[in-house]
Structure formats: C-alpha cells, structure tokens
Symmetry: none
Subunit: 213 residues, 4 copies
C-alpha cells in the first residue's frame, strides 16, 4: 500500500517535473528564436514557462545546456518517416521521396531558425555545431546514400560515387530550400519549390541513369 502510494506520489512528481521541463523547453525555444542566443534571457524564459529561475536551473544547469537541450528536442521531434519500402519504386520516385523528406524536415520545428543560432554559436560552442552537423547533415546523407546504393545495385542507376552524388543533390536542394531561409526571417516554402526540386532530380537522373532506360 505504502509502496503504491509512494509510487503514486513519485509518479505524480515525475509527471509534474516532466511537464515543467517541457514547458521550459518550449519557452526557451521561443525566446532563443526571437533574438538569438545572447539576447534570450533566462529570467524571461522562466517567466514564460511559469516556473521560478531556481526551478529552471534545477532542470538545466546553464544557459548553454538549455540551448543544447532545445536543439536536441528539435531533432527528436522531427517526424522521420524514413524512406519506407523502395522495392517497387522507380529511381525517380525514390529521389522524389528523398527530396520531399529533406525539404519538409527543414521547415519543421523552426529548424532553420535553430540552425541560424547554432551556426552563430560556432565560435563559442563548436562541439554543439559539430554534433548538429553530424546529426542533421551527415546522418541524413547516410540514410539517403543507402537508398541510392540500392538503386544502383538494382540496376536502376549507373554505378557512381553515391557519397559525393548525394551531397551534390543535397546541395542543389539546399540552394532553394535552406539557403534563402537562413537569410530571410519568415521565409516559407515558396510556391515553385516543387518544380525546382524536380529540376534537381532531373539533373540527378540525367547524370546517373542507365543509358538503356
């Protein structure tokens, strides 16, 4: 009984605590996005999250740690459906799926705004930036590269240096999707984005398709 009660209390407390943690993360993200890392104020974050500064510090040891947690949360919250089964899909279909995922993820969770700050903090927090690069750039490429290798293995594409090729494809898509978003506040998916992406895919296929096809 007592154990049950105790567990209940413990559970209750954990729930409260997690609720607060989430509230803090949300408030923090909003504040960081508003004016960058330095301009965000711990006191205001605490106020927005309806906790005291002391509680804030109980959850996150420092401003830097809080920001790191915010960044992580963004990546955790990105819905990543993966590429799914590519068995019966044409090369074009797979590439389209890849680019669509890429483009969509880039506009989720204010990813671009967060990216801006991570980039800004490179001189102060190089490790964070490296981690983000690893997770958001390198890792994604790995996933896509595997799909491309499968297409090659299957004979839909010519054998080629997929590691480099996927980056070239990514670079082209970024040109239209990420780059303007970094420089323009409130930049949103432009209307012609799908056509641009299609052009990138066309290029990719033209370069690497089996001639016979």
């Amino acid at each position: 009984m007592e154990g049950g009660l105790g567990l209940g209390l413990e559970n209750y407390r954990r729930t409260i605590s997690e609720t607060k943690r989430a509230a803090i993360l949300t408030a923090a993200r909003e504040n960081f996005l508003k004016g960058g890392y330095s301009r965000a104020a711990m006191a205001e974050i605490a106020r927005d999250a309806d906790v005291s500064t002391a509680t804030l510090y109980k959850h996150f040891a420092s401003k830097e740690a809080l920001f790191t947690a915010v960044v992580e949360a963004v990546y955790e919250n990105i819905g990543d459906p993966g590429l799914g089964n590519i068995e019966g899909a044409t090369a074009r279909e797979v590439l389209t799926r890849i680019c669509a995922i890429y483009a969509r993820q880039q506009f989720e969770g204010e990813m671009n705004g967060i990216l801006r700050i991570v980039i800004a903090e490179v001189p102060s927090s190089p490790e964070l930036a490296r981690a983000v690069f690893e997770r958001g750039v390198t890792a994604r490429y790995e996933q896509f590269r595997a799909a491309l290798d499968a297409l090659v293995a299957r004979g839909d594409l010519k054998p080629h240096d997929t590691a480099t090729a996927v980056r070239m494809l990514g670079g082209m898509v970024k040109e239209f999707v990420v780059w303007p978003a970094l420089f323009m506040k409130d930049f949103d998916r432009p209307n012609d984005i799908d056509r641009k992406i299609e052009a990138c895919i066309d290029a990719y296929i033209k370069m690497h398709e089996r001639i016979s096809k």
Copy 2:
C-alpha cells in the same frame, strides 16, 4: 600659403582619421569573429584599436553601424578579378574559372565567419542580411549567369534555364565549400576540394552540353 597650411592640416587630419578608422574596422572584425555580435564589446574593440570609446563612436554611430561597416569592408576587400575574357575558352574552362572564383572568395577576409554572424542576426537585422544576400549571393549569380548565357549563345552549351542552372551549380559548390565552413570553426579549403568542384562541373556539362560535341 595659408591655403597650403590649411590643406596640410586637413590632409593630416584625414590621414590620421582614416588610419584610425581602418584600425577600428580591423579590431571590430576580430572581435565580432571571436564570439559573435552580442559578445563583442565596444570597449574592447576600442582598446584593441588603440582609440577611446568616444573616438570609436565618432567614427561609427552605433554597434550596429560598426558591424554593418565591417561587413561592407569584407565585401569591398574581396579581390574580384571577374571572369576575364571568355572568348577562346571552352565551356569547361569557363565553368572552372567561375567555381574557382566562387571558392576562393569564400575563404577571403574570414567571409565565412562574417556570414555566420550575419545569419545569426537575421531576426534582429533583417535588412543587413537581405543586403548581404543580395550582394554575396544574387549578384554573384548574375555575373556567372551572363557568362553561361554567352556559352549558350556561342553554341557550346544547349539552351537551358541558366538562371536556375547557375543556382544548382552554386548549390553544389556551396555544399563542399560553404556549408562545412559554417559549422566548423577554422574549416579551411580541404585538399580534395578541387576534385569535388570538378565533379560538379562534370555534372553541369553532362546536363547541358551540346550532344554533337
């Protein structure tokens, strides 16, 4: 005679003034690069430039104005040789020149570090970011596009949407040249950069060359 003296004084003052202005800009650039916009302190910039804070403010009305001037100075100091005469050059040669200029400029004057800060300040100084985008991205593309159009006119390349194509090329090159530099402090031209760029050019040519060639 008096005129001569007066002019002497004026010249003297102008020289002194310009020397100080340059010293301030250098000190400012270094300080901004060290920890971003917010962490840079006007007092320290003044100290590094061997002037008083008041003199600093005589030259630049505010921290923001100073940063803007730093950014402008970077763009002004970039040596831009232009593409030169492309009369007798092959398409590949022209493209190689384009990409080489692009890549080189990106590592001059700590361009990438400055870019980081400009991006970071997008929410606070959207106009500055827009201006940099205009000058550093859009304008460069214009120049390159003109060259590509010439190649098309000359019959070396198939007619194609050069405006989009130049961005795709730029995106690919950025992927190897700019993107890692944004995330990694002290990222310098990697060894295999020329091979990567060549791959991009290969892709471009493959897509748009005259079949007859």
Copy 3:
C-alpha cells in the same frame, strides 16, 4: 502547517522587501536633493541604500519612476492635521490655522528641495509637474477655500470670491515662505515669519471682514 510556513516566508520576504524599498527611497531622496535629478546616480543611490543596482531596479523600473516615487513619498509623509473643527473659532483664528499649516508643510520632508527638482524637470516630465501642482497647490487651496466659505456663510466674512481670495492669500504667504526657499539652499523658517504671516492675515481680514464687526 505548511500554510503557516509559507505565510512565514511570504511575510519575511515582504518585510525585507519593504525595508529595502524604504531604504532606497531615503537614499534616493538624499541623492536627488544633493544635486538635482541628472546629477544623482543610480549606482550611488543603490550603494547608499545598501542594495545592488539590480535590486534597485527590481523595486523601481527606471530613474524617472524612482524620482516620481520619491515625490509621492514626500506628499504621503506630510502630516496633514486638517483644519479641525472651526465651529467656535474666529475668522482670524481660522486664517491663522490655515497659514500655519501651509507654512509648516512647506518645510517638512525637504518639500522645497523636491519642489526645485520637480520644477527643473518641467520640460522633461511635464506630467509629474502637473501632478505636483495639482496635489500641492490646487488641492490645498480647495481645502482652505471650503473653510473660508464656511466663514462667509457664518457671517464672519463678507461674501466674496473666495477662490481668488484664497489664492491671493496663498500668494502672499508663499512670498515669505516658499519663494526665498526656492532660491536659497538651507533656507529655513525665518524668525519674523509669524509676523509676516500675521500681516497677510490682517490684510485678508481688512479686505473681507463684515463692516459691522
């Protein structure tokens, strides 16, 4: 039990807070009086009040707000006994009471010094000056005028424009009590002040007494 503890904490905090607030107000008043609004330094006020500047700003959002609070505190701390019951008092007695109150209040809480600063800040803080005028001049006249009206109603004084008359009386008293105090630091109640005031009262009675008396 917990409620009791909580209340204890709250009480404790409130007490501390109010003590500090009072200390700040005192320190501020002294600093403002020393050299006027502009010369007073928030840092010195904080030091004199034995608090940090941050605490000072927790209590008062700005220098201007602090000064306003100082002015209000002066008016709140003035002991205003009111005129009391004037039933059995002669006109002369009532007038004497009026002038005595007026004169005494003017030397309480460094009123004259505060007045100097309020006047000085008219171009910068016209609303504050207007409020002080309302509270310290107009409102006092209202109170006194009511007493004079009673004397008229009672037949002790001839019917007359008491609104104007009370200002004339006030003007005469100010001439001896306030005006020199504005121009001379440490001006204190002069010895012959009561005689001067009596002369003013004589004048008032002479002008407005019932002839029959």
Copy 4:
C-alpha cells in the same frame, strides 16, 4: 595708415568675435531651455552656434560660466522702461503700472524657463541663484517701494510698511503670473490675467488708501 588699418582689422575681429559670442549665447539659451542645465551639451551648443567647441571655450571658460552668462544676458535684454514720471498719476495708476511691468518682464526672454533652471541649480550654484534673487526679486522691489513711498509722502496712501507691503503685492501677482508658469511648460499669459491683477491692486488700495479719499 597702418594704425588705421590695424584698427580696422582689430575692429573687424572684434565684430566677428562679438557676433560669435552672441550666437553662442543664443544657442546656449535654447539648449538650456530645452532640457535643463545637465541635458544641454556643449558640443551641440557649439554646433548650433556654428563655431567649434574650442571657440566656444575661448569665449566661456566652462559650462557653468556659459550658463551664468546666459542668465545675465536675459536680465540685460529685459526692456525696463522704469515707472516713468508718477507726478500726476493716481495711486491706482502707479500700482497698475508697477504690476504691468512686473507681469510683462516675467514673460520676456523666456524668463520663466531660465528661472526654472536657476532654481534647479541652487544646490550646485547657490551664488548664481542668490544673484538672480538679488537682481530679479529684491532689486525690483526696491524700485517699486520707492514709488510707493512717494505716494505715501504725497498723501495718496496711508503711511505703512511699504517694504513688506510691496512684497505682499508682489506675492499676489506672482501667484497668478509666475507660479503656474514655473510648473507648466508653455504656460502663457492667461486671458483673465488683467482682472486678477486688478483684484490685487484693489486689495492693496483698500488696505492702504487714505480714508478721506
């Protein structure tokens, strides 16, 4: 010849110098009036007067000296017609003239604005305030008292303590003319001012006229 030329040059220089001095005084007065003593900036005064700061300091050794000079200039520029010949004038006429002069002078040359600053600076510049009091208050009273004494000698008024009486009269007039002007920016002569002043004069005459009249 040479002497003549030299004198001409000297004259020219003196003229220039005096022109500049006047320009400085005007610019200074405007700046002081705008926001009080502390907020006025020597650099801005110099700019407004079209001289260099060095020239400004050639003419006036310090900010304080400049302000003193501004105050003096105000008093020098007041047109003081004196009371004129009071030989054939009735007591009422003389009193009316006295009050008219008083009231008019108070609105010339931004006297009230200057007065505000002088009062504000009492703790910092007590001597200046004392001098202004001497010149603007005491001295004027002397002049008026002499006229009143003449009226007494002539038998138009009862013998009375004219020194005190003139202050009482002055106090009443100030109540309507000066006091509100101190507290309200841009307070200008109100419409009913003449009637108020007449009431003051009525009071004065009532108190001190020969009964036989």
